[in-house]
Amino acid sequence: MDKGVLATALGSPAPFGQSQFAFMRGNAFEAKVKADGGAELLRLLYERLGGSSAAPGPDVATPDLSAAGPEGRAARTALALREATAAGGWALLDHPMLALEVAGSPAYLEPDAVVVHPDGRWTVVEIKSFPMIDASAAAAKVGAAARQAAVYVLALERVAAVTEGAEVGHQVLLVCPKDFSNLPTASVVDVRKQRAVTRRQLTRLMRVEDIAAGLPEGTTFDPACAPEELDAAVAAVPPAYAPECLAACELAFHCRARSRAEGAVEALGRSVRGELGGLTTVAGVLAAAAGKEGDPADPTVAALRRAAALRAEALESAAGLRAEAPEAASVAGGGTPEGAAACR
């Protein structure tokens, strides 16, 4: 299902997309890292994770992994991994295909590269185009890369379990541009935490069939349908809109509109809920704060009323102060210039 197309059909297109500058730069960087049979990549890997093995020379194996369909490519990858491990040398698998069962159905994953060490260790390599400046990088991006790599490690572990002499490294190699150049540099990331989390998530994941089975008969997500029909269909899936969705999901603007229309307080951020207890709507909270609803013995209601009273008192006292000293409150700006109209 293409959520972007669905969002546009629902009338809430999301401002997503990738700049071709970023896209081209990302591709160019990956190609550069993998040029010459991955010589530079293997050098970086050997420097950081080489262990006691001999340095990779010109004889690094770069098996051909092409095959028909994801299943075929995954099978080809497994075979190549087995052969490389048995050979006991260095091997670079460029864009291998891995399979992992997610919620009862196989998902196919394509890491940037996997390197087989002479000692049978397999290392996942992630190539990203965000920079490492003075050996540090944007933590949120590294975190995302680590979670992604952990999934690859889990998938590789399934293959390694049936491959003699193989072991999957929990340290992955993250390759990024160095400082302000397009020269590659690398850092080792320990993904044991992410692997443990992903493993538990996989066991807990609600099976996709379960979600599908819970939907009303005849539910459809076909974007060709009328917006109302689609709207009803999307409403049937349990939503959990939070502002974080805006950066991640094409449907977020649609979910936000619905969340706002329902007056859900989460639309203001998950943390808002923290002190509101059982109150879930804007109107409900404001009515409780104003003393119109709610049990004053409920600590949430009591705290809200105190907050409202303190806030009102402070605003009143400030207004009183300003009335006494009108010059302090005089408008210094002098109106809004016309130029702002574009944004209004």
């Binding site: 050996a135 935490k193 992410q194 809920r273 923290g274 600590p299």
Partner: protein, 444 residues
């Protein structure tokens, strides 16, 4: 079932090696990891006494005034003659008045007044202001994992070599402003003192106390697996060595049934119906108070290796742990209403390092609509789940597992930072899964 593991011998071997390194080793630093209840304080006191006896005057650095005063008292208990200096701040009430009754203890706000004493003890904050003194040959840094790297920087010039002792599983030190720009640096000032020390001196001997004397056999494996996955420890006692029983039979209510479950298995989960609540969830707070009330009313007695006869579980052997201060205040009020006094009620931060027979814990995520980093912090749950010698009862709203699923771990990762285990999200799930086997549904 425990063939080949003699906890007493294992612990003695570890302690012996630590003291040997401390007294006779050539390393500038020695690091000792101590899981909950593994005899950290005993080790600190013993190392201090043996160093002093060997003619090496030393300074001791602890993190809070309460810890300092506690160490001073323990030292005096072991050797009432030994001259000990208590360096204190110039604020009002700088130390526990108990110290005034100890003849061997000299107290002063000036380090110069304490010069020449065998042992001088103070907090890291106070030591940081001591300047222009001859460095001590030896130091002991207690609760070193709760000490910030910048605090160590301020005092490290005062000693030549040091024994660093602490529990890596408890709450990490924190700063009130962002410190991300130094993440990945070996001397990140917001990191723990131990991580900086080891980053610069990876060759230092690292020891581990392998046996928890506090945690019962029912708790050690869970706490070890969930919070110390790569540095496991074991319980000093076996199943059946300890027993918790009640003089009064269960009345069939939720609190009584969960107490019976906890007495039997070491763990009890009292589950209230799912509901989003404020932090001071009145029902949950009352349930916590009721469990404590019933525990005392039913005449709990604890049998353990410490005494021949069963010992009554009195109020001072019971603690209630919460995540937030206002929750602790609400529980205190609820206990007062039920006429219970003398039970320690505090947050995880303040329960660190303390020990009780039975603990009752208000789960940090109970009733919450969201799971923040604060509530997921591994150390918080670890402290709360590792204060007891016999049993731990957790009171919680239903639905925490689902809440965790809705807040998958998406921690940012800083390059070059040594990964600290485990992940809070994962540890919460692990503990929850275990507790689910000891679940009792709320019924007043």
């Amino acid at each position: 079932m425990r063939t080949g593991f003699d906890p007493g011998a294992e612990a003695a071997r570890a302690t012996g090696a630590i003291l040997d390194d401390t007294l006779r080793g050539s390393s500038r630093g020695i690091v000792v990891d101590s899981p909950p209840g593994a005899g950290k304080s005993t080790l600190v006191v013993r190392a201090a006494l043996e160093l002093a006896a060997a003619g090496h005057p030393l300074m001791v650095i602890a993190q809070t005034n309460a810890q300092v005063d506690d160490l001073v008292v323990r030292l005096a208990e072991k050797d009432p003659e030994l001259p000990v200096g208590r360096l204190h701040s110039s604020d009002s009430d700088p130390y526990d008045k108990v110290l005034d009754g100890l003849a061997n203890v000299t107290k002063s706000a000036k380090a110069a007044d304490l010069a020449g004493l065998d042992i001088v003890i103070s907090t890291a904050a106070k030591w940081a202001h001591v300047k222009n003194v001859e460095p001590w040959g030896h130091a002991i840094v207690d609760e070193a994992y709760q000490m910030r790297s910048d605090a160590l920087l301020a005092v490290a010039g005062l000693f030549e070599r040091a024994l660093f002792v602490g529990d890596p599983g408890q709450l990490d030190p924190f700063s009130i402003v962002g410190a991300d720009q130094w993440a990945g640096l070996t001397y990140d000032p917001s990191a723990s003192a131990v991580s900086t020390l080891l980053a610069h001196n990876p060759e230092l001997p690292q020891h581990r106390l392998p046996v928890s004397w506090r945690l019962p056999a029912s708790a050690a494996p869970l706490v070890s697996d969930a919070f110390y996955p790569y540095t496991p420890f074991r319980s000093g006692t076996d199943h059946g060595d300890r027993k918790l029983s009640f003089g009064v039979a269960s009345d069939g209510s939720g609190p009584d049934r969960v107490l019976d479950e906890a007495a039997e298995s070491g763990w009890g989960l009292l589950e209230l119906p799912a509901r989003h609540t404020p932090r001071t969830d009145p029902e949950a707070v009352r349930a916590v108070a009721l469990v404590v009330r019933r525990l005392l009313d039913r005449g709990g007695v604890a049998t353990s290796e410490r005494a021949e006869d069963p010992v009554p579980v009195t109020a001072d052997r019971v603690a209630v742990g919460t995540a937030h201060r206002d929750q602790a205040a609400a529980v205190r009020a609820a206990l007062a209403e039920l006429g219970v006094t003398g039970v320690a009620v505090d947050t995880a931060n303040r329960l660190q390092g303390r020990e009780f027979d039975v603990t009752v814990v208000l789960h940090p995520l109970s009733g919450r609509p969201d799971a923040t980093a604060f509530h997921l912090e591994t150390g918080r749950l670890c402290v709360l789940a590792s204060r007891h010698r016999h049993a731990c009862v957790v009171v919680c709203r239903e639905g925490v597992a689902d809440l965790l699923d809705e807040h998958p771990s998406t921690e940012p990762v800083q390059l070059g930072v040594t990964v600290k285990f485990p992940d809070g999200w994962e540890a919460n799930h692990a503990v929850l899964a275990h507790l689910a086997e000891h679940k009792v549904r709320w019924k007043p």
